[in-house]
Symmetry: C2
Subunit: 324 residues, 2 copies
């Protein structure tokens, strides 16, 4: 299905907003792209990056005449934004967002959405640890999932239109209930981030001497956590403020399991440790075969070549192959 | 300093052993490379990959005449191996290893090392989630640290020779006390692995329907943990059996911090959450500037391009740039 929007309004222009702008333009999904943000420095950055067609600090101006409005600010700002723009939303427009939690968004935004506007919350499950308008790139959503959580009374044609928009940017789209989304994301995203932030914080508290060694030897596992823990702090604050119940539930399960593992370490229970470590490989394989991950070792991180030897150190007298 | 060994014996030929074999051959660091392993399938795999010059199931044969012997089996096998090979070790030879824990290795291997043999435990801080002889590649150690923990009575010339060996394979080398190594690695490596195994285990316990969604939406953070949790289960069992004290100490600190974070989520303490999430970025930056990580977004993981649009959807009438 070909998707055409007259005017796409992006309220907020961080990593996700800027990636939508770039992808939508590349795919020709909107005649005009209007960008609104609260800070003038950010707006100027977006303008310098040539992300859209209209740049304004006034969200109302951005929204006026738009048939697709996407909230791309941190979730904590949504309530203020919807109160500001509600009166300017056009009948027939689609209002969506990109927040990492959905039930909370339905709760704070829903009541302000005027009659005739289709509110379809969304969550593109894509991102990097970088933030801000310059972090965006048009391939960000390609091959990634986007979850939509439309209420039952939203016209199917409007949902189809938004599905088409995301598909055109390369996403796979799935519709589900907002509460279910929040529970699944709690374990796939929110708890991993909480834990990553936590362990990096534990290291930040170590004595200075040890800390510099931790940085030096971080390639042994820790550095993967630091990538996750480098994500936008305000966005993540809002996630934990707005998906509290699901996060605490999943954190409880995680901690129960960790107690079992801790006990196995304390008692030196080798068979239990090995069994727990062996069963997790199957999950990794499923993720790779589901196309959600590269099978390349170490995420395909670059490994530099070692320096060439200055001169042959030996005359090789035996058989055997050359450099493998 | 140019390093020359007459015969390098590798006991065990997994990811690390095979990478040493490939790097040592490429850099011309040994006249002969002898490979010994317990299982004949593994030995035949090593032979098919042309990793060495001599292949044997008999560790004693591999060690005989070797001036550098490196234990590359899981740490749990060391005691058996040293008892087997002790009598065949040549005076003047260097005995080293690649295990992830060091105090335990000193304790179980040290007493069996004959007079005249220099025992210099080692730990190349490098690896991927893959294991087995076919997982090795000669660049694995390039730009990575290798820690050596020589006892005070080992001749400096022997330490220098082993340092030169690792440097020739591209490593940076640091010598330190075995107990200190174990403490630093507990937080940079062992705890991250324990946590990653744990959260993947928590997911493995979810109902089947939710689990398939977790796999689908794993790109949101979880998949990074599954990579770490795909590492060799036997190796990691041995790490936790042999570095118990340091692991439990660091796990205690981690859990204390997690309680604080959990409480901030429960009480909805936004400023505390944001402050905790903000301070971890500095550590990431240090790791990148220390050359231990790529600054590329998402580890440089491949992002596919979205499909090209079938046809232009709009005639663009306004100004503005092309695809950015």
């Amino acid at each position: 299905m070909s998707v055409k929007f007259r005017k796409l309004a992006l309220i907020g222009i961080g990593l996700i907003g800027s990636s939508i702008a770039l992808a939508a333009r590349r795919q020709g999904l909107a005649e005009v792209i209007a960008i609104s943000t609260r800070k003038s420095e950010t707006l100027e950055e977006a303008r310098a990056l040539n992300l859209g067609d209209i740049y304004t600090l006034d969200a109302v101006e951005a929204v006026r005449g738009a048939d697709l409005v996407i909230l791309c600010t941190p979730v904590g700002a949504y309530e203020g934004v919807i109160k500001t723009i509600a009166g300017a939303l056009e009948p027939g427009a689609i209002l969506s967002d990109v927040g990492s939690v959905k039930a909370h968004v339905v709760k704070v935004v829903g009541p302000h959405v005027p009659e005739g506007v289709s509110f379809i919350p969304g969550h593109p499950i894509a991102g990097t640890e970088h933030s801000g308008p310059s972090a965006g790139f048009p391939e960000l959503f390609a091959g990634r999932w986007c979850v939509l959580t439309p209420a039952a009374d939203v016209p199917a044609a409007q949902v189809d239109k938004l599905v088409g928009f995301w598909e055109a940017m390369g996403s796979h789209v799935e519709c589900m209930d907002a509460a279910h989304h929040d529970m699944v994301l709690a374990i796939t995203s929110h708890i991993p981030h909480l834990i990553a932030y936590n362990i990096v914080g534990t290291v930040a508290d170590l004595e200075t001497a040890t800390q510099s060694e931790v940085i030096k030897f971080s390639a042994s596992g820790f550095r993967d956590f630091t990538r996750i823990a480098a994500s936008d702090p305000v966005m993540w604050r809002d996630v934990f403020l707005t998906n509290k119940e699901a996060v605490l539930e999943m954190l409880g399960r995680f901690l129960e399991d960790l107690s079992v593992l801790q006990r196995a370490v304390r008692t030196g229970d080798g068979p239990a440790l090995e069994a727990m470590f062996a069963r997790t490989r199957a999950i990794r394989r499923s993720i790779i075969s589901a196309g959600q991950e590269t099978a390349a070792a170490d995420f395909g991180r670059p490994h530099e070549a070692p320096p060439a030897p200055a001169a042959p150190l030996f005359v090789r007298e035996h058989g055997g192959g050359d450099d493998a």
